[in-house]
Subunit: 108 residues, 2 copies
């Protein structure tokens, strides 16, 4: 795996649904850039043994962690601890990109 990457060059959107683009994957974590067109979402879900980190690159992210929901913009960092329900919606009007790190990667 290359050690140096550019988020912009890996950011691919899809008209069908929110698109996950991998940047790095090791046995200890993965790092993706998630690309959301306006209105696209990641439905609430939880991971038993992995913590997830969201970083808002650009756009607006409506992120729910457990019972708390907030609209977050660039520079926000959000933690979804293992076992806690979490989900994301892009309320628009622009595109949304999130850097997502999960440690460890979910078992496959």
């Amino acid at each position: 795996m290359e050690s140096f990457a550019e988020i912009d060059s890996l950011s691919v959107f899809s008209a069908d649904k929110m698109k996950k683009n991998n940047i790095f994957a090791t046995k200890r974590f993965f790092c993706d850039v998630y690309c959301f067109e306006p209105g696209q979402a990641q439905e609430p879900h939880a991971h038993v043994g992995s913590d997830k980190l969201y970083l808002v690159v650009d756009g607006l992210a409506r992120i729910r962690i457990g019972d708390e929901e907030r609209d977050s913009g660039p520079g926000a960092a959000v933690l979804a601890p293992a076992g806690v329900q979490h989900g994301v919606v892009n309320p628009g009007p622009g595109r949304l990109r999130l850097l997502v790190v999960m440690a460890p990667p979910p078992a496959t």
Copy 2:
């Protein structure tokens, strides 16, 4: 621990040396924002059992991974795999902020 944080409000610089500011810490990873004044550095070092991710928030980062050194700006993502020497210098002229994720956190 709060689930929602703002990188800007946690970014503290120090005239003495590069400053690490913690954002999130779990048993599976930590996420810090490292703040470098021009000329400040993190000397090359390695972690036996942890992978590290650098994300350039703003400024210019001269990052060495093993034998490869590159100058990276905002939007760059850089992987330092476990066991591989890595270090950072801020060549200036501006300040540098790096988001740093390490998984798992180093044993203390």
